[in-house]
């Protein structure tokens, strides 16, 4: 049974001519890792916020643990929000700068009666230890600005973890950290998943990070409010079936100067000048495979393989554009 189902979600914000989300369907099974990728404005963050109850879609349904969110009572809604927690992108903004860690982490535990006052300190120290912050009690008296970015994100994860959630939405959780720091946080989140079994909705624009984290899970590629490709992460990355996915893959920097020099420079021009199309396929203006048929209507998600779907009529032609990504491990110098 699915843990979270978002069905037919469309989200309009004020003063917008296009919806942020357009009839999007998302399903997460318990303990599953699902990644949402796309450039800024594609709607992945909006979908993330809908998934943890911070936002109600303009139309469409959200079902959590079998219960429809719109028909939930206040108490049930509260429980839904507690069981679906978010880790935010900005380590500087996600912790209240005027409160010490003790309050930020401790108050929710006391309010929800998850810890008693006399056990609170021990509980908090254990919580911090589980996110790799093995510090003494004095650490709890610190303010966020006294912590490094990596430490702050760990505290954010601890906060999300403290309510024993079934789903964690990580919204660009490592994007603002140094590249060398990202791995340890990703490893932490993966080990927490092994230990506690929560599901993850991992929102990111960085395919390298996504492949690492969601390698054994699923990925959904989004473009201006629509899902254009979805499937198992390894399938989508090694055998993309939508031209936009190849654009994202080709644009992801890899630590290999020789490969980088071979990359064609003109591609980014097309991406810079094109916008989302209003008629036909949304990717038409920026698509290297665009042709007449694409102007007729937005292609639906078509089955292109096992659990693999793509919203492109010409998905068969897509592999021709991704030979570069398939010359893989032999060429890379790292590790």
């Amino acid at each position: 049974m699915s843990l979270l189902t978002v069905d037919g979600a469309t989200q309009w914000f004020r003063n917008q001519t296009k919806p942020a989300l357009d009839n999007v369907h998302l399903q997460i099974a318990p303990g599953e890792i699902v990644a949402l990728v796309g450039e800024s404005g594609c709607g992945k963050s909006t979908l993330g916020r809908i998934s943890c109850g911070m936002l109600e879609p303009t139309t469409g349904s959200v079902t959590f643990d079998g219960h429809a969110v719109t028909s939930m009572s206040k108490r049930e809604l509260k429980r839904f929000r507690m069981r679906a927690q978010m880790v935010h992108q900005d380590p500087f903004a996600s912790l209240n700068p005027g409160l010490p860690l003790r309050t930020t982490l401790g108050y929710p535990l006391r309010y929800h009666r998850l810890a008693r006052s006399r056990d609170l300190q021990d509980h908090l120290l254990a919580l911090l230890e589980s996110v790799g912050l093995d510090e003494g009690p004095a650490f709890l008296d610190r303010y966020p600005h006294q912590l490094s970015g990596g430490q702050r994100q760990r505290v954010s994860i601890a906060r999300a973890l403290s309510l024993n959630p079934s789903l964690i939405v990580a919204d660009e959780a490592v994007s603002m950290l140094d590249v060398s720091m990202r791995v340890s946080l990703l490893d932490l989140m993966l080990s927490l998943q092994e230990e506690h079994g929560m599901a993850y909705l991992f929102v990111s624009h960085d395919l390298g990070v996504v492949r690492y984290f969601a390698g054994e899970g699923r990925i959904m590629v989004m473009f201006y409010g629509l899902v254009v490709e979805e499937g198992r992460t390894e399938d989508v990355i090694t055998n993309p079936q939508h031209p936009y996915t190849t654009v994202l893959l080709g644009g992801t920097p890899v630590p290999d100067p020789r490969r980088a020099r071979q990359r064609a420079r003109g591609d980014s021009l097309k991406q810079a000048e094109g916008a989302a199309s209003d008629t036909g396929c949304v990717f038409y203006q920026r698509c290297p495979l665009a042709r007449q048929r694409c102007l007729e209507a937005q292609p639906p998600l078509l089955d292109v393989g096992s659990q693999h779907r793509s919203a492109c009529w010409f998905h068969d032609e897509v592999p021709a554009h991704n030979q570069a990504t398939n010359t893989t491990i032999a060429g890379t110098p790292a590790g």
Partner: protein, 349 residues
């Protein structure tokens, strides 16, 4: 293409090579805090030759942003340039007076800040701001019209529509567009060097790709020398021709980009950094975090700063801080075990 960086700070002795566009000579920058003096940049030397794309790489807190600011001889308080010098084509910045430095900062060494922060006046159009800049520096563009035409040309290279962009306000531009306009501003007065602090941080992958291509185009078409600061080695691979790696205030390797990524002669920190990158071309859990943590600048010992975390560490590493030493091709590494190999080679018959 261009001459490789030599092992001495000034290229005057070598008659073949022209003076490097910008050379840093034993530069140290201190921060005077209530708790004491902190040396954020410690005895750093390197050169950037004309037309190069030089990356200064390191993690947060390594001093790279401070070093970049020092290229304009402008360090935010409570920072202070303690010793050393920065030379622009053999012209010493430490010998300049305030007026000369002011002109230098606008017209010779341009700075583009992270996320184009504070680069724009929000209440006037971009075009108006261009005019202000041209007015303030008439020696570069005596004809206003030529100046604006050049700006339009720059906008085209950075893939923005010229007239429409000049009519826009800052708030009407997306983050990626703002960064590109900031780059155009940086190049408006035809500087010798443009310094970019984290040019792609906070941008998504599509915008990142655009910035990379734009910078490569600018360098090709205008021959401008670029120095950029980043923590992302993958970006370095895409963009840089030469690299300087910083760790805890020290420069630990200076080399070409190919040497950094392919040469076995690599500083252990660089090796560790490379292994910590989640690479989209590799499956599985291939990346490894760097064990340990960066030392606090006020708790440094006498030896190599990377010693506590280094797989190659020897006893003398804890007592003596290795200098940057280059091999025959100019790949300079600050590491005792690695530099032993050079002396071994040199002493071979």
């Amino acid at each position: 293409m261009t001459a490789r960086p030599g092992t001495s700070a000034t290229a005057g002795a070598d008659t073949q090579l022209p003076a490097p566009t910008i050379a840093v000579d034993h530069l140290s920058v201190d921060f005077l805090l209530p708790t004491g003096r902190l040396r954020a940049v410690d005895d750093v030397s390197f050169e950037v030759n004309e037309g190069e794309l030089f990356a200064i790489v390191g993690e947060s807190g390594c001093g790279k942003s401070t070093l970049a600011a020092a290229l304009q001889f402008l360090v935010p308080s409570p920072g202070r340039i303690a010793t050393g010098d920065v030379l622009l084509r053999d012209q010493s910045l430490s010998a300049m007076n305030d007026e000369q430095l002011r002109r230098l900062r606008a017209a010779d060494v341009a700075m583009v800040l992270q996320a184009a922060m504070g680069s724009f006046n929000p209440v006037i159009t971009i075009g108006r701001q261009v005019e202000h800049v041209l007015e303030a520096h008439p020696q570069v563009w005596p004809s206003r019209r030529d100046g604006v035409a050049y700006f339009d040309h720059l906008l085209e290279i950075v893939r923005l529509p010229p007239a429409r962009t000049r009519r826009s306000f800052e708030s009407q531009l997306s983050g990626g567009m703002r960064q590109r306009v900031a780059i155009a501003f940086g190049l408006l007065l035809k500087p010798r060097v443009v310094v970019l602090d984290e040019p792609t941080t906070a941008l998504d992958v599509v915008n990142q790709g655009i910035i990379i291509d734009v910078l490569l185009d600018l360098q090709e078409q205008l021959g401008v020398t670029v120095v950029f600061v980043t923590h992302d080695l993958a970006l370095v691979a895409e963009l840089a021709s030469h690299v300087g790696v910083m760790y805890a205030g020290r420069m630990v390797q200076v080399a070409t980009v190919d040497e950094i990524f392919y040469s076995p002669r690599r500083h252990p920190y660089v090796q560790a950094l490379l292994s910590s990158i989640p690479n989209v071309l590799q499956a599985g859990r291939h990346a490894r975090p760097i064990p340990g943590s960066v030392p606090r600048l006020d708790q440094l010992g006498p030896g190599c700063r990377f010693a506590p975390r280094c797989p190659l560490v020897q006893d003398r590493c804890r007592h003596s801080d290795p200098p940057l030493a280059g091999d025959a091709s100019g790949n300079r590494v600050a590491c005792h075990p690695l530099n032993d190999e050079i002396t071994a080679e040199v002493s071979k018959p």
